[in-house]
Amino acid sequence: MTKHLEQTTDTWEIGGKILTSRLLIGSALYPSPANMEDAIKESEAQIVTVALRRQAAGENAGGNFWNIIKALNIHVLPNTAGCHSAKEAITTAQMAREVFGTNWIKLEVIGDQYNLQPDPFETVKAAEVLIKEGFEVFPYTTDDLVVAKRLADVGCKVIMPWGSMIGSGKGLMNPDNLVAIRKQFPELKLIVDAGIGKPSHATQAMELGYDGVLLNSAIALAQDPVKMANAFKYAVEAGRLGYESGTMQAREFASPSTPTIGTPFWHQFK
């Protein structure tokens, strides 16, 4: 195990931080807080997403959760989940910066309640304001190349296209679109966010050259979230190694791998 890790550890930079893990993990939907904590540890993720919600007077549920996350000593990425306009997202980001003590924000502005598709217009508008206010914006977007271009134009250094709908577990709906974004923006950090359901989906995203994957439901809703966290750790690592190794070109015909010279029982018929 030690040898394996020594061989595969690489470092990368995102949001001004140097990391070794390319898996970004969510903190929601786990069977219990203890299970969440164990799964995050097992994943070896160095970025965990969190959120803000209304708190009633006298409650301290948020404090208990936040204490668990703080004790993990990893980077926190607050989100603006549930926001439907740039204004709501900007206010939520400002509140998150104060509470969580980070200028990182996972910018989510939802445009459709049925499929939770991000609103590209409001997302770009919010990103522009937040970047001017000193935020490191991690925008959740679709796999639309032009939207990615607009986000880059306003200064986003990270872009997070969806694989498929949030929580769907359907994997990568449009790998070709994801490849197009990768090719167009080699200098940006690209994370596939949302829709990952299986470790193989994460591997596929990494094989496309994405810098990381962000997921929550696939681990939290597994029958054994801790074991699944371990599976995703290796899946992300395998995909990255595959990408760095350079995959072979697919062919339209069969080609034997075993040498044909000296094939037994071969006869030259006249």
Binding site: Y30, A51, R54, Q55, G62, F65, T91
Partner: protein
């Protein structure tokens, strides 16, 4: 008495007051949350000088699990 909306719920408070005072009156703990007034973020450093008026809307948010 005046009425304000706190996290979507209409609530009576004794009078116009600043944010620091309303937090105390509503029996919130003194930290671990962030506050917005009428959709605009209010930094802790301005709690003393930000006044709550009749029909104002306040959001008080705290950390929770998120994806």
């Amino acid at each position: 008495m005046i009425e304000v909306i706190v996290n979507g719920i209409r609530t009576e408070i004794s009078s116009e007051m600043n944010v620091k005072e309303i937090i105390k009156e509503l029996k919130y703990k003194q930290k671990g949350f962030a506050l917005a007034l009428n959709g605009t973020f209010v930094a802790v450093s301005t709690y003393d000088t930000t006044i709550i008026y009749d029909n104002d809307s306040i959001e008080i948010l705290a950390p929770v699990q998120g994806g």
